[in-house]
């Protein structure tokens, strides 16, 4: 009998708990010391306890039998400035495509922090996680003004309704003006971006990256089409960003790489060939063999690539014009 009573009692308790559950939920939803989870910026969800921001493991990708990425492993520390170098077709841009969600890989893992699987996210949410990218070919919105281009890239809630009601806060306005002066386009702020020169478009791209305040910047050939002075400024800019933000730079201009990088990763045929400081990499016998070997195999002199800023073909010209693209 008493047991029966106890049973009834526990039933009652469970029932009460059930009744209370929604109230509890509401109550916890109304707590002032916490922010609703869906209001949290995506970025803050990233867990980087181990100081490693990006884990890339066993990445494979092939286009019609051509292995663009081959068991690629790469770890990027928080606050690091890393340069990726390698010949055309070594997989540098493809790697960036995979990280930003443009291309699906065949197998492997890409984790942002310890907890976010980038392969499960689409481009927009990857961007909203704080991964910004500057493309190889400058792609700005040519029909809109420089100012609008920057406004679009601002770090903000980018869903439909908030965007509809969005207004520039003074802080954001200041930010845009600041970036405009950094990239030297203050005077052209109301020009259509399409009317800018190639180098200016490069700067605008960098500016768009800057206003978005990303945690990880993927920068693809930033100095193509820039004058030596501008190249220098870019180098300065990127080094100043490192530390607070993490930067991955892909660049063919070895002079530029040497000037900014403390750590360089050499990609070859879709996987990492060598990693270390510029000196280490340059003296790495494997690297030398691969590049010099290839150079010996191709009798044509290494032509200058898309880079217009030709003066910096370095001693160890790692650039090879072999068309390996499928």
């Amino acid at each position: 009998m008493s047991q029966n009573n106890a049973n009834q009692f526990s039933d009652l308790k469970r029932f009460e708990a059930k009744l209370n559950a929604p109230f509890q939920a509401i109550r916890s939803g109304l707590r002032r010391d916490q922010v609703w989870p869906f209001l949290l910026p995506d970025e803050s969800k990233v867990n980087i306890d181990k100081d490693i921001l990006l884990y890339i493991e066993g990445l494979n990708l092939s286009f019609d039998g051509f292995k663009a990425l081959n068991e690629l492993n790469l770890y990027i520390n928080k606050g690091e400035l890393r340069c990726l170098i390698g010949a055309n077709g070594a997989g540098k841009s493809t790697l960036m495509d995979v990280i930003t969600g443009k291309t699906q890989c065949d197998s492997g893992q890409v984790f942002f922090g310890q907890n976010i699987d980038l392969l499960k996210q689409d481009e927009a949410s990857i961007a909203n996680l704080g991964i910004g990218r500057k493309f190889q070919k400058p792609t700005v919105f040519e029909q809109q003004s420089v100012f609008d281009n920057l406004e679009l890239s601002l770090k903000a809630n980018k869903s439909v309704l908030p965007t509809l009601w969005a207004k520039l806060t003074p802080l954001q306005l200041d930010k845009i003006q600041h970036v405009l002066s950094i990239i030297g386009l203050s005077k052209q702020a109301y020009q259509l971006a399409g009317a800018l020169s190639h180098g200016q478009k490069q700067w605008l791209e960098i500016g768009m990256l800057l206003v978005s305040e990303p945690r990880l910047l993927l920068v693809d050939e930033p100095v193509a089409g820039m004058t030596p002075q501008e190249t220098e400024r870019t180098a300065e800019l990127l080094t100043s960003l490192a530390g607070e933000r993490t930067v991955i730079v892909v660049e063919h201009d070895m002079e530029f790489v040497r000037s900014i990088a403390n750590k360089v990763t050499v990609l070859h045929q879709g996987s990492v060939l060598a990693e270390g400081s510029m000196q280490e990499v340059q003296s790495n016998p494997e690297v030398i063999e691969v590049y010099l070997g290839e150079e010996a195999a191709t009798p044509t002199p290494p032509a200058t690539k898309k880079t217009i800023s030709a003066p910096n073909i370095s001693k160890v010209s790692l650039i090879n014009n072999k068309e390996e693209k499928a």
Binding site: F63, D64, K325, A326
Partner: protein
């Protein structure tokens, strides 16, 4: 005045009689018979109804060949005779008016009026006699096809008095198909008349493999009314079996119609598969290229009205030239300037399609035009009572496949094909290699349009030729190309046939319109799921 006329007709009759006489004299051996034949026929106009049957019997036995048409005409109530001279003629109603013709040569006799002629009378007993006599005559007809056809029509109305005739014929018959039919008839007699359940069941078993509708009807009656449960069961089983094979053949029939629709879709979309699929040009005037082809057929037939049978052979190259030339003009005049702007190309070519439609409307009138089928394309291939394949659809199916594979060979084996593929894959590179891209564009577009023209020739054999002909096909053909995968000719082939078959299988369930809608919606959903179609092109180059 009237008498005078009568006199003249009398004279004519006399002359014709005289002619017969001369004829008879000339063929001395047959003269007696011919004379008696003529007399018999004349007697037909005078005899009383009661004596009609013996007289007809006489005619039947004396002249099997001529009797058949006379009997048929008589049965249809179209046998008349000229009052004066008792000359037999046939009447035919055209519209509401009666017209008179010679019995054998079917030459018109325009001078005869209602007053001058009289109908040969007949009653039901005569009709009954005539029916069996006709059947008998047809059953012994030298042509096996006519014998078979006669039997087919007999089956639905088997009269007891014919059983003997059929049995006799069965003993003589050599043609397998006719033997089968004769057996069916005999089995039906057996089923109807036999008292023995065993014999009935045996008949039922033999009938179970037949698809003729009378067989089914008879079996149904037996299954419902037979007093013997065993017979009933046998009939029931046989019906089931028949049902089964009927369904199977109906399925084949549907499949054929599906393939036929598929071939039409294929023809309509191959041209598009080239211009849209390979070149990447959106040509909304593609349907009008088909229409031009159809109108070319019409014009060719106008130009050679006496050689309709050969007209298609002229029309095919002509349509190819007309539509192809129009295609080249459009490409050079408009599309060339819109390179790399697909949406603008779409709009401009749509404008062209409006102009072409209105042009045809102004030149040929907005009404549909009649395009004739050559005689070798009419008729059908009868496989069994359920399944018969119409020849025009069969030919068009074959034609579509021929055009498809010819085009495939052209693209794969010739230098034009090589150039086309080169330009479609990398225009600038091809240009750098010395390919005249402009020329290749024009030729490719001309080719695609020309094939659309050929499709128009084929379509003119199936549907009405009017200014809106092309519009009806443009959406369907785009769907086919997109569904199959742009740039993949085999995809187009598979897509055309699968859509055709799917539509035809849906139609009996949902009705034609709803089937079309369902297929459209299906494709829309499919494209959402697989934007590159059934057989997408792979790799980086495709992006």
């Amino acid at each position: 005045m009237k008498q005078f006329q009568n006199l003249i007709y009398g004279l004519i009759a006399c002359f014709s009689f005289a002619f017969f006489s001369v004829y008879a004299v000339a063929n001395d051996s047959q003269s007696a018979k011919a004379k008696s034949d003529t007399e018999l026929l004349v007697a037909l106009t005078q005899v009383k109804l009661k004596q009609m049957n013996p007289l007809l019997d006489q005619i039947k036995s004396s002249q099997a060949q001529t009797a058949l048409p006379i009997f048929k005409t008589l049965l249809e109530g179209r046998l008349y005779y000229v009052r004066s001279g008792k000359h037999l003629i046939q009447m035919q109603k055209i519209g509401k008016e009666k017209h008179y013709f010679e019995l054998e040569s079917a030459t018109a006799l325009p001078h005869l009026t209602k007053k001058l002629v009289k109908k040969v009378k007949l009653n039901n007993s005569v009709r009954r006699y005539l029916r069996s006599a006709i059947a008998e005559l047809e059953l012994s007809h030298p042509d096996a096809k006519i014998r078979a056809a006669a039997l087919q029509s007999l089956l639905s109305n088997l009269e007891t008095n014919l059983q003997v005739t059929i049995e006799k014929r069965r003993a003589l018959e050599t043609d397998n198909k006719v033997i089968d039919l004769l057996d069916v008839a005999l089995n039906l007699y057996q089923l109807k008349q036999s008292e023995s359940a065993a014999l009935q069941i045996k008949a039922i078993e033999q009938l179970a493999s037949r698809l003729e509708i009378p067989v089914k009807n008879q079996l149904t009656t037996v299954a419902e009314t037979s007093p013997d449960p065993a017979v009933k069961q046998a009939a029931f089983d046989a019906l089931k079996e028949i049902e089964h094979s009927t369904n199977r053949y109906e399925l084949v029939d549907q499949l054929f119609f599906g393939l036929s629709l598929g071939s039409v879709l294929l023809l309509a979309s191959i041209g598009l598969a080239i211009t849209f699929g390979v070149m990447g040009v959106i040509n909304m005037a593609h349907g009008e290229m088909i229409m031009l082809g159809a109108y070319t057929t019409y014009v060719v037939q106008l130009l050679m009205p006496n050689h309709i049978d050969y007209s298609l052979w002229v029309a095919i190259p002509a349509a190819f030239m007309v539509s192809g030339l129009m295609g080249v003009i459009i490409e050079r005049g408009v599309i060339r300037h819109l390179h790399g702007r697909p949406l603008e190309t779409l709009l401009a070519t749509f404008g062209i399609s409006l102009i072409l439609q209105q042009l045809v409307r102004s030149v040929f009138s907005p009404l549909n035009r009649q395009v004739f089928s050559p005689s070798w394309m009419t008729g059908s291939l009868e496989i069994n009572p359920i399944l018969s394949l119409t020849l025009n659809r069969l030919y068009i199916l074959a034609f579509a496949l021929i055009v498809f594979f010819a085009l495939l060979t052209l693209l794969r084996k010739t230098s034009l094909g090589l150039n086309v593929r080169a330009v479609s894959q990398n225009r600038n590179m091809a240009k750098a290699m010395g390919v005249k891209t402009g020329w290749v564009d024009a030729m490719t577009f001309g080719l695609g349009s020309g094939i659309a023209g050929i499709a128009g020739v084929a379509l003119s054999q199936l549907t009405n030729v009017g200014p809106n002909l092309g519009q009806a096909y443009i959406i369907d053909s785009f769907m086919v190309v997109v569904f199959g995968g742009v740039g993949n000719l085999f995809g187009t082939l598979v897509a055309a046939f699968s859509l055709g078959i799917a539509t035809k299988f849906l139609e009996p369930v949902t009705g034609a319109v709803l089937a079309a809608i369902i297929v459209l919606v299906f494709i829309i959903l499919f494209i959402q799921k697989r934007p590159k179609g059934l057989f997408p092109q792979k790799g980086r180059a495709a992006e």
